[in-house]
Symmetry: C2
Subunit: 219 residues, 2 copies
């Protein structure tokens, strides 16, 4: 195996980059913040990432203790974040925040799935909810499902349906990221690009309030 390229500088920033600075590494971590994933899920989500690189990055991340393998439902293997890996959430949030000030490139390729959006959503909610709030909802973004939970202020967002959730909201991906990026006002988003497909008016309204708070806090 090749010996890793490293800055070896006595500086915390350089040390962080030695762990997560390689190409694709932060994007892999980003997708794992949506919950444990199979190899193929990661590869389809990360459009343009070659298979050998994904394997190599996952190995490195395991050596560094940011990712571990776990057993999935039917004898499948899953990749999951360790606590050290979870700790990249604020970093990824700032990265997304910074990236949102640049216009998207014209020649873009869409990610193969939307695990992408979970970190920013999760961190935005974490910064805006207060310690005793509770909520549960399912989001449907371009036909892909997300389970959002707030238990006594602890926020989790996972990729996957949540049929039991009292509220279900559906929306389009592009409108969503335009809103979190601040290019679309959150009330325009709520009125034009968001549809409640399940839940009482009261439950829907209270969850929308939570979402609006997250969007506002991101700025």
């Amino acid at each position: 195996m090749p010996k890793k390229r490293s800055y070896r500088l006595l500086c915390p920033i350089a040390r962080a980059l030695d762990k997560v600075g390689d190409r694709w590494t932060l994007l892999i971590l980003r997708d794992l913040h949506a919950g444990p994933a199979r190899y193929m899920e990661l590869q389809t989500g990360l459009t343009g990432l070659a298979s050998n690189l994904l394997a190599s990055r996952l190995n490195q991340l395991q050596e560094d203790g940011l990712v571990r393998q776990t057993d999935g439902p039917h004898g499948t293997q899953l990749y999951a974040l360790t606590p050290e890996g979870e700790a990249t959430a604020p970093l990824l949030f700032e990265l997304g925040n910074y990236g949102s000030r640049f216009a998207p490139p014209e020649d873009l390729r869409r990610p193969g799935n939307l695990r992408t959006i979970v970190v920013n959503l999760k961190e935005s909610l974490r910064r805006s909810v207060d310690a005793n709030s509770n909520a549960r909802a399912e989001l449907v973004v371009d036909e892909e499902f997300f389970a959002v939970r707030v238990d006594e202020g602890r926020v989790t967002v996972r990729y996957g349906a949540d049929p039991e959730a009292p509220v279900s909201l559906s929306m389009g991906y592009e409108a969503l990221i335009d809103t979190v990026d601040g290019r679309m006002p959150s009330d325009e988003f709520a009125s034009e690009h968001l549809e409640a497909t399940r839940g009482t008016a009261e439950d829907v309204g209270s969850f929308l309030g939570l979402l609006a708070g997250a969007f506002a806090g991101a700025r």
Copy 2:
């Protein structure tokens, strides 16, 4: 010139990485947070960075609008952050925060100067001072000088001496980063590794209080 390698993904995190994700780019920005710098200052600070890469990165950063060239004192050219470049401060802070959870590598090379530390110091102070506080001090870390100012809560830290400052504190680099990384308690730092070389007991004490707040807030 080669066409830039880009993720081209519809995701803010990927867009940020397209701007600042190349090797050395974030470290160059980090050093520029200490104030405008000459080419050679950057090169000596960034131990291991080849000259051609530095030139190429600076060009890219100027194209992307994060860095601009300005005229220095004696007909010299300086590189400085634009507002877009300044906006990387929270990102670099989180990166440093994350990196501080890993042990420094054994085979390390010291940076050629200490511009390195300014971002973290600056952002830590920004998060801990309140809107109406004022302070001015000179820090001397391993013989290198830093000018710290707080004007009505607005924090600036620049690389360079400040002989007019009412307070001057000297300390060692390794103790300082051990403290901001949380490996050394801040009172041990204050009592063992810090020396006040100028200023009344009162001024020194009040500035130490500010520093302690910054160290505590970083955690």
